[in-house]
Amino acid sequence: MKPKFEPNADYQPKDFSFKSQKKVKDILANYPSNQARSGIMPLLDLAQRQEGWISRVAMDCIAEAVGQPPIKVYEVATFYTMYNLAPVGKYLVQLCTTTPCWLCGSAAIIEAVETHLEIKVGESTKDGLFTLLEVECLGACVNAPMVQINDNYYEDLTAESIVSILTALAAGKKPSIGSQTKRVGSMALSGPTSLEKQAKKAGVGS
């Protein structure tokens, strides 16, 4: 589970401002001025992309931008699980452990990550690079087991491939995203079982 919003925690910064006022304006321009509160969600996202997480001051700042009392922003931010309300590492590793992934060996993946990074689920590495979370189904069960790291999915994982992904990220490289076994079109392991003609045309499968 993600850490909860702690408005008075020590790690809460004193101030916040958006780096790009233009982006804020662009977002607000999408909504009629009396519906500015619709901008709360994209602005929360903008703040999270800027800082990696959303602080209380950031929410207060958004509240002001949309002309709502701060509690309205807190309500939205605490409702959705994709907003990070406490600081996270540079890479947020969200490992799926729901049934399909678990059946395909997610437990081993978690173990591999925990040993490699020397942290437990819910913790961050000392260098501030990684935070490990266990999450529910991310909708990529076809290529289970899988992990989401920041905006990208890495699928068809093995204990080795996840470690090499983490090593590459730590080294500042960009490991290839998607299926790590180069599976195309999420087809069955034994090759296409439907749409065979199309698969052939695309040059995949047998």
Binding site: K4, F5, P7, N8, P69, I71, Y74, F79
Partner: protein, 673 residues
Amino acid sequence: MPKLKINGMLIEVEKGTSVLQAAEMLGVEIPRFCYHDKLSVPANCRMCLVELKNAPKPVASCAIEAGEGMDITTNSEMIQKARKGVMEMMLINHPLDCPICDQGGECDLQDQSYGYGFDRSRYQETKRAVKDKDIGPLIKTVMTRCIQCTRCIRFGEEIAGTADLGLLNRGEDVEIGTFVEKAVSSELSGNMIDICPVGALTSKPYAFTARPWELKKTETIDVHDAVGSNIRVDTKGGEVMRILPRLHEGVNEEWISDKTRFAYDGLKKNRLDVPYVRSKTTGKLEKAKWSEALTSVAEAMRATSPDKIAAFSGDLADVDSVVALKDLMISLGSPHIECRTDGMRIDPSTRAGYIFNSGIAGIEEADSLLLIGTNPKMEAALVNARIRKTWLNKRLPISLIGEPVDLPYPYEHLGTTAQDIEKYTVKDSQKPMIIVGDQIFSRTDALALHAVCRDLAEKIGCIQDDWNGFNVLHRHAGRVGALDVGFVSAAPIKTEEMDVVYLLNSDEENIINNCNKNAFVIYQGHHGDLGAHRADVILPAATYTEKNALYVNTEGRVQMTRQAVFPVGEAKEDWKIIRALSEELGKTLPYNSLLALRARITEEWAHFAEIDVCPQEEWGQFGVTGVLLKSGFKNTIDHYYMTNVICRASKTMRACVDKFYPKKTKTKIKKAA
């Protein structure tokens, strides 16, 4: 207008009526938690499920609009099962701690689980617990009891206009909170206690002091401001335990302000319970018998020439005693009587000139509003709530001339001076409204101001055959009644020249400070505050919860308080004290009972016979055209919680001041001498 069938009964309802409301009209009971007549409909509790023919599943009756030909059943087996299910879910995480809950005996959850729930629980797992929130000195929270109906949030947002509360997190973790542990700051916050259907929000001062079934309930009215809110005073063993609102659509709807609700502990503190006479030898106030006190007053009055005797009636004085005092002063031959103790010089010659003509409910009809020299939030929180309601409904343009203040609706600030009044214009308004704060008439140019306001009302069309949008907002419960019975002097009284000063419930600094050092001051009232401090004789009187008395609210509506408890100690009802004094003076007033006094009042002022009627007064001339001052209007109330002797004696109000006005807590509570 759609016709529908509910449990086989046919009913035709207004378009837009919900099924739940339609059922209510038929007397069919539908249980509910989240639905509240005065709030928006979130339909989140699901307790109000009903069966709609041809619908695949039960529907929430609070949120579905009555439609033509609907066939609704509320008592089928399916619905009984559905209610049981909802009830069971609701109780899963509820602590079931009724024996230690203040809501017990008047709890919707308790009643409805009794009526519609299971008689045992099937839930074996651990319950969740939610941390209590500290939201100030008025509301106690036990958040584990909360059923997330969100009424409190909606109340804050929609009625009070202070969005302090919110629904945080989701699923099992969901909770009501302010997050930033902020006190809920609103003059209306106490109403959340009433609307919370469970014991999550209860009254802090009332906590664990009584059970609802032990209380004696007295329906009466409030005197903390000039709104005249309808209240119910609950007492136990001769003590006021709490104060609750009573529904009155015309006045307070079903809300009351925090002062009305919570200042009652002031009724028990700092009370004058026996007469006092200042000793000639020690110069100190000493306890005395009634006969001694009255004799010494009578002696002083007899020894003084009538034109050196003045009488002032204060903010809380009731009409009965004011009339008695007026009669007494006339029989003594003194012309010096005054109720406008704050120096207000409003012209009382035309009634329409000093009352809230449209009525408080009339605000909802207005389509433009100008506030002059008033802060309705502080002066009359329920008038303010009406303005906000109207603004929410139709976004009427609101302007303010006077000190800029924080109001729960947007307004245009047009300036601060009398000159700005003359410039005001409004476009396309069929029912324009002006609300003038009575405090502006405390300036030396009061009469000219009165005339300017009158002219403006005529100019912008406030005065029509069926519409009078000229409204004066008073701050004091005793004022309009005293103006009605003419407790005024033509010229300002030179207080410093008076040898005998009679203060009837009057604790105003400026009067007391102006009294001559050698003047003989009589204070008749219930609290040891400023007036009693200065007095040479104290005549202890009853508070509004201890007497049957007439009051007139700012609308000119005559209302009656009812005795809920007996006056403390030897205190007496106000008019009786004056009657006894008149006898002592040998000028016995010609009424011996409250009935006879009322007959005397209605004979001269017929409108006092019509209780609880919002009057329609004839428009007329008032004010005198003259030179206007250039200075800006000032607001006088800066401490909402400390406006009269009762609040000043109240610990709860003191706690509110400390909490909500942390910086300026300088108002001193003066002790009785």
